[in-house]
Subunit: 136 residues, 3 copies
């Protein structure tokens, strides 16, 4: 399994990691199979979304922030980052993508994103891919 590190600069930020996932797929010699991307944190998520126009990411993060306000009167959690926990579960902790011919099988506009909801922080992403090419 590959581990990569991503440093975020803002409280809410989406960082594209498609290239890192493709590199992991090549490094473990997967020809046809799958890649799984997992974030071992509870205030960050992984999602697949558009990677063509960075304005999409801006609008997505702003909508999530409006939907899930940072502070609420009912909050009990002492750390004060409960909103980030909600957003993390809304995005999910992992995605799984098919690999064909050593490449991720994504749609034309799709990229894989780490979603930071309580930055700036240093985050890990775990990338697992298989099966490796058999060499008889």
């Amino acid at each position: 399994m590959h581990k990569i590190t991503v440093s975020t600069q803002q409280r809410d930020q989406m960082v594209e990691i498609t290239a890192e996932v493709e590199k992991a797929v090549r490094d473990v010699h997967v020809l046809d199979g799958w890649a799984e991307v997992f974030v071992p944190h509870t205030t960050a998520g992984i999602t697949i979304n558009e990677n063509a126009d960075s304005d999409v990411v801006h609008d997505v993060l702003k909508r999530l922030d409006k939907m899930v306000p940072w502070r609420e009167d009912f909050d009990r959690h002492g750390e004060g980052n409960s909103a980030a926990h909600v957003k993390a579960s809304m995005m999910g902790a992992s995605v799984r993508v098919r690999v064909e011919g050593r490449r991720l099988l994504l749609g034309r506009w799709q990229g894989i994103w780490l979603c930071e909801f309580d930055g700036p922080r240093t985050r890990e992403v775990w990338i697992d891919a298989g099966p490796p090419v058999k060499r008889d």
Copy 2:
């Protein structure tokens, strides 16, 4: 991998594709294994939800639309469909279901749905299933 095409008629629409996924499972001769359903688009998602009462789908789409308004003052994305991108990530791009005895192992009321959030459009759904039955 099987590709199916779904034509949607409305901006927000859920189309059940459980039967198509079961057909793909049979076509690749999977006895016991899994089926994975992936949407290669960034303004549509895949989810599992009730397929008994179509009113559920109506209420789900209306709630999502209220939560994620189509236009916001802060929007920058020129295409104007940022809400669809948010909803797509909220639902997710794929689901994975176990197969036993050549059938999808779903709960009694569960179906697999393509979620259209920027229709009408023609959408692809990629269905992968395995492992195929070995014939020694």
Copy 3:
């Protein structure tokens, strides 16, 4: 495949099931592989989130309830639990976690949770893990 039963006591409740998933992994003799956790219901979900401070769960459920009100004027579904269907799809029906050395490979603060959105009810959770250790 293992099936476990979870009895919930409230309409909205998160019940941690990490220990049950780890037990299933041990019972099927998985050394290095994966575990998949699936909920066969349409008003409950599965998610990964913090298991250190129970106040997080309180704040998460309250935020979801505020985002997705129980009743809306546009509701058509006779059972009156459409909000639970939305929340179920927002969390998702399954999670997948890597197994290494017979243990779930989770982040330091991560646990696996059944999310009840229409309780109290008795829920099933299906746990699948593999591959089993080969004994030559």
